[in-house]
């Protein structure tokens, strides 16, 4: 936990790169790769050329703020260092009287109309304008006129406040919206001194990545409404952590004040291999739902020894849980998709040791047919920058792994072709060649995809875990295409947050459910696992009817904690340490950004205490030691430690894969009716529903149909329909959407209490559903 280093804004360069040229900087001969912008090259050599509008991640420089003027021999006047590439033998000075006067002058002009309300400005203390004024600016103002006024502040959106008086017109936010997120919603209106940021439509700024403009703003013009007036930078401690809300594994920065997590921001030093500093709005704003006092948190241990349930202290509840597991004849363990590596490893040790070889499984997709794909050369997200073709096969990354959308759009800007194959309309369709397939028929796209791959030199295939697990024939065909191409690489669009980590520990996805259904389990320990809200919920409900005792370790209340004989409150991912492995195989550390919730304990600590009570005390006394024990006994983690993971993580080794099975044969959907297409909305899951900050954007459960399809089924005008699959049934609101193809029922998953997960089998095998109007 540290004070935050100021955001540096400069692109990282390697002065010793093979193509580096030497040039003279303030009298020193230094090197930088040819073509590097002078501001970045100077920063790498310890010289700060102040900037405001320059932001290499957004795109080509625009040279608007004029802050970076420097003297270059041979060029008339001063020149903007943000837009001047380094060339061999160039002679640059950043410290002449002319340069200093220009810097002082631009800052004096920037401050002329800038309100000096720093004491009440949220940006105060971490404000580039403040910092650079101290270093490069005038000490006093000669501007005696009244300053420019705008009504302030405006709600640009439910999460962003806009103070137009503070804006210095750096255009970063507008360029982000126009060029990076490409939601094209923010615009620059009016001209000259009355210029201002606004949305094109006058409606609130909506998008999936809007919060990034808060990080980008070099002044207090765009501030976070949830964080408004909450803390000052010198009051907060920051921890570099990783987002646990999807498997992308975006690197985050957590700000803590008085033990509470106050905000989540992108890292001052972005991880170029993953998120490049961008966060999605869920990752940025959903943390409120996990606060210690959030209504949905499991705050006390619960014991149900006969009814009624009663709250207990954690110590007594652990004793009770240990006793339950100890006296069980056939215990089993289920690990949830976002359990950390440490928790899963300790659960494995518990199952293998004191629980006498109890079966252990992860709650997730078995995906035996995916092994050939996973075995092929993998790519990191950052490598999309150098791809010439990006193929998205199945899924909907814009909603499921949001930051992937930004990385694909960037690849497109850099000249890559994009192809999207699958049954769902996605946000990326706008920049892609679309190979629309019938629901459950991804294999149809393979011939066209193969031709596109062949024409590319360095393609990267992004493939959706759930979709391809459901279609083994498509998975096998895709694996053949990628394998046949010497330059092609693949990147999994995973369904589970730490699925890769759990697989790397050797945890199967099968075994426990099957045993429970056959009444061969009498006590089930659920570690961050709620099978009653996961795909396969219907089958799990039947299985749990046959399980006498459930012990649940959980952060939030859920159907499984309400069903459990003992529910043990665990620390949230913002309070705990641990390692998560991203879908690209990066092991990255969670670091606590909030004080542990009262009455709860870290998941790994609860598991260690259970081991102790069960007569097998574990040797590791911290999550660090638990990880090191995992690293020394699991091949994929060999050589890794908390120290080696550092702040930006490491790619783990290859995971020993089970022999592929079920490959090649097309999987016929079970049941009758329309093929079910699972949909995920970015603000549609429990994390979004728990967060007050996202209240305006959250979406609920629904089944959506093409209008023609709805007509054929006689559902026109029906508000709610009963949806039935061979697995289970539920009642969902009906939406008609002409953008959807015919032949599928598009069911949004994830909304708390919708029951839509009951329609799916646990292995995500394709199913068909029938729809009937509900009362």
């Amino acid at each position: 936990m540290t004070r935050r280093a100021p955001r540096s804004d400069y692109a990282r360069i390697d002065p010793a790169a093979p193509d580096a040229v030497s040039f003279e900087l303030n009298g020193r001969v230094v090197t930088a790769p040819a073509g590097t912008m002078l501001v970045d090259a100077a920063w790498a050599h310890g010289i700060e050329i102040p900037i405001f509008c320059y932001e290499a991640r957004i795109g080509a420089p625009i040279g608007a703020c004029r802050m970076c003027l420097v003297a270059v021999d041979g060029l008339r006047g001063l020149t903007t260092a943000c837009s001047t590439p380094v060339a061999a033998e160039m002679v640059v000075r950043t410290d002449t009287p002319e340069v200093r006067a220009a810097q002082d002058g631009v800052l004096e002009l920037l401050l002329a109309n800038h309100p000096l309300d720093c004491p009440v400005c949220d940006k105060g203390g971490e404000c580039p304008l403040q910092d650079r004024t101290f270093r490069f600016g005038p000490g006093r103002s000669r501007f005696i006129e009244p300053k420019r006024h705008f009504p302030k502040p405006l709600e640009l959106s439910p999460v962003i406040a806009l103070d137009r008086e503070r804006c210095i017109a750096c255009f970063r936010c507008v360029r982000f919206s126009q060029d990076v997120a490409q939601d094209r919603n923010l615009a620059w209106q009016e001209r000259g001194p009355r210029s201002q940021i606004a949305t094109e439509t006058g409606e609130p700024y909506e998008g999936r990545f809007t919060g990034n403009v808060i990080d980008l703003c070099p002044v207090g013009a765009l501030t976070s409404i949830p964080y408004r007036f909450i803390a000052r930078p010198w009051d907060v401690f920051n921890a570099p952590s990783v987002c646990h809300l999807c498997p992308v594994g975006c690197n985050t920065d957590l700000s803590m004040r008085e033990g509470k997590l106050m905000r989540v921001t992108g890292r001052p030093e972005p991880n170029p291999a993953v998120e490049e500093g961008w966060l999605c709005d869920r990752g940025r704003f959903a943390h409120g739902g996990e606060a210690a006092d959030a209504p949905a948190r499991l705050k006390r241990a619960i014991l149900r020894e006969g009814s009624p349930a009663r709250a207990s202290d954690l110590e007594a509840a652990v004793v009770a849980a240990a006793w339950r597991l100890d006296t069980a004849k056939a215990p089993a363990v289920l690990v949830g998709p976002d359990a950390t590596v440490e928790e899963a490893f300790l659960a494995q040790e518990l199952a293998a040791g004191p629980l006498g070889g109890a079966p252990l499984a992860r709650l997730g997709i078995p995906g035996a047919a995916l092994a050939p794909l996973r075995g092929l050369a993998g790519a990191q997200l950052g490598e999309l920058d150098a791809a010439d073709l990006v193929a998205v096969v199945g899924g909907d990354p814009a909603n499921q792994q949001p930051v992937v959308e930004l990385r694909v759009r960037k690849a497109r800007r850099r000249g890559a072709a994009v192809v999207v194959a699958g049954p769902r309309p996605t946000a990326l369709d706008a920049v892609a060649e679309v190979l629309r397939t019938a629901p459950g028929r991804l294999a149809e796209a393979m011939a066209a995809l193969g031709r596109l791959l062949e024409a590319a030199a360095a393609p990267i295939v992004l493939w959706d875990e759930a979709d391809l697990a459901a279609e083994p024939d498509a998975a096998a065909a895709l694996a053949r295409l990628v394998a046949a191409h010497p330059g092609a690489r693949q990147l999994e669009l995973a369904a589970d947050v730490n699925g890769a980590g759990l697989r790397a520990l050797g945890i199967p996805a099968e075994g426990v459910l099957e045993a429970a259904l056959e009444a061969r389990v009498d006590a089930l320990l659920c570690v961050h696992a709620d099978p009653l809200t996961a795909p396969g919920a219907a089958r799990w409900a039947r299985a749990l009817d046959r399980v006498a005792t459930v012990v649940a370790i959980a952060t939030h209340e859920s159907p499984i904690t309400r069903r459990a004989a003992v529910a043990l409150p665990a620390l949230s991912r913002y309070e705990d340490e641990g390692v998560l492995v991203s879908m690209a195989g990066r092991a990255q550390r969670l670091r606590p950004g909030a004080r542990p919730a009262d009455g709860a304990a870290a998941g790994w600590e609860i598991l260690a205490a259970l081991g102790h009570r069960l007569g097998a005390p574990v040797a590791h006394r911290s999550s660090r030691e638990a990880f090191e024990a995992a690293a020394s006994s699991r091949l994929a983690f060999t050589g890794l430690s908390y120290a080696s993971l550092g702040v930006s993580g490491q790619v783990i080794g290859p995971t020993p894969a089970p022999p592929p099975s079920g490959a090649g044969a097309p999987a016929e959907p079970a049941g009758e009716g329309l093929a079910l297409v699972a949909m995920t909305e970015m603000f549609g899951d429990a994390s979004a529903w728990r967060a007050g900050a996202l209240a305006a954007w959250r979406t609920g459960a629904a089944v959506s149909l093409n209008p023609a399809e709805a007509g054929r089924l006689g559902l026109v005008g029906a508000a709610r329909v009963e949806v039935a699959s061979p697995e289970g049934r539920c009642v969902l609101p009906l939406r008609i959407d002409a953008a959807l193809p015919e032949g599928g029922a598009f069911v949004a998953l994830g909304a708390p209490g919708s029951g839509a997960e009951a329609l799916l089998p646990p292995d995500r095998h394709a199913v068909r559903v029938t729809l009937t109007a509900a009362a």
Binding site: A64, R66, G105, V106, L109, L110, R142, R191, G192, P193
Partner: protein, 435 residues
């Protein structure tokens, strides 16, 4: 006082040349026909180069050199763009050309397009030029019908057509890269250079962009020969230039003169009819409002690029604004500062914030709230605004005010000391007329 009418061809003809037949009878399209029949594109380009024709929009960059910057082997199509966003205060020469000699512009564009290998030309015309846009639109239709625009023009193998595009009334869109942005349908703001339009201009393609008067000079050059044209005027300022004279003169209007052979005194006192009786010459902005002001001691400066530079100003667009001794230089400076503050696009910090600051300081002076230290503050701000921006708008805002403060410092001091400037010139003139 050699007034030589070349570009203002209708004056020679004695009538507007708005009908294709009239233009042809006045010798129009002879140059295009001859060039397409007898000259390779490179030869036309070479003629433009040899003629020494300099851009008449304000910067004075040699047109042939600019055209030669277009890459010869670029795979992208090339564009010719005519800058008809004539918004410089005091400048109305392009307006007369478009209104009276529209075909001369179209012919010049076809020749320039042929020289650089463009098949498509655009005329970006100032939004307020409603009538002129209609005249041009009619001329384009006539030229198409007459075979001078469209497929295989003038019975050659060269195809060239022109699209007329109307601006929305922003001064900044006369800046070439802002014009291109606006033409692409974006917000009109200058682009970072390089790349220059010759390499990546309209739609990121090689683009030659020139002013109306420049392009309208091309038919004469091809018709009479580059050497004949280059022999006019001085070595570095060949040819003729149209000056728009306005302000306190008795015969305001456009005057086409051979560069270097006429003095400012001759332009103001002979061609433009001199000042009102009893008035004394005070100041003159010889190249539009964006150039440093001249005073009485500069009256004998010859009108050409170098001589005006030597006098500390620029030839600019040739919009010559004259002020006699009824005018107040502080008020005039305020009026200019107001214009540039209003027209600043807001992209660059020094211009966005600086033009407004200049205006407010001058406003205080005019309002009687000036302070002596404001003079030093103004001088400090000139250096912080001028030469610091992407385009020349801020330089244009600084130049007339900075020069006014240098040449007429006593008047600034008097205004600050006395707390009020003298009455508005027009008010005084009206009072005099009424009396």
């Amino acid at each position: 006082m050699p007034e030589l009418t070349l570009t203002l061809r209708h004056r020679r003809a004695g009538a507007p040349l708005r009908e294709l037949g009239d233009y042809e009878r006045a010798g129009g399209y002879a140059a295009l026909k001859r060039a397409l029949a007898n000259l390779e594109a490179d030869e036309v380009l070479y003629q433009l180069h040899r003629s020494g024709l300099r851009g008449r929009g304000g910067a004075g960059f040699p047109m042939g050199r600019k055209a030669s910057f277009l890459p010869k082997d670029a795979p992208l199509r090339k564009y010719l763009v005519c800058n008809a966003d004539e918004s410089e205060p005091g400048t109305f020469k392009d307006r007369e050309i478009m209104e009276m000699d529209p075909f001369e512009l179209l012919e010049g564009m076809a020749l320039a397009g042929y020289a650089i290998g463009a098949q498509r030309g655009y005329i970006y015309i100032r939004g307020e030029y409603n009538h002129h846009a209609e005249v041009l639109a009619s001329a384009i239709v006539q030229a198409r019908r007459g075979g001078y625009l469209g497929e295989e023009i003038a019975r050659s193998r060269y195809s060239f057509d022109i699209t007329l595009y109307r601006g929305a009334g922003a001064y900044i869109c006369g800046e070439e890269t802002a014009l291109l942005e606006s033409l692409e349908g974006k917000r009109g703001q200058p682009r970072l250079k390089p790349p220059f339009p010759a390499v990546a201009g309209l739609y990121a393609s090689p683009t030659l962009i020139n002013n109306v008067e420049t392009l309208a000079s091309v038919p004469t050059i091809i018709e009479r020969g580059a050497d004949w044209y280059a022999a006019l005027g001085t070595e570095k300022s060949p040819g003729t230039k149209v000056f728009s004279v306005s302000g306190h003169v008795l015969r305001p209007g456009n005057y086409e003169v051979v560069l270097g052979e006429t003095t400012l005194r001759e332009l103001v006192f002979e061609m433009a009819g001199g000042l009102r009786p009893g008035r004394r010459f005070k100041a003159c902005w010889p190249g539009g409002s964006s150039v440093p002001v001249l005073a009485e001691q500069h009256l004998d400066t010859p009108l050409d690029y170098e001589s005006l530079n030597a006098a500390g100003t620029f030839l600019g667009s040739g919009g010559c604004i004259v002020m006699d001794d009824s005018g107040c230089i502080v008020r005039a400076s305020l009026r200019l500062a107001h214009f540039y503050r209003h027209e600043s696009c807001g992209k660059c910090t020094p211009c966005r914030e600086g033009t407004g600051w200049l205006e407010r300081i001058l406003q205080r002076m005019v309002d009687g709230e000036g302070r002596m230290e404001d003079l030093a503050l103004l001088e400090a701000l000139f250096g912080r605004i001028g030469g610091k921006c992407l385009c020349a708008l801020a330089d244009g805002a600084v130049a007339p005010i900075q020069s006014a403060l240098r040449l007429f410092r006593d008047e600034f001091v008097r205004v600050v000391e006395e707390g009020s400037p003298r009455p508005e010139p027009m008010v005084e003139a009206a009072v005099a007329a009424g009396a």
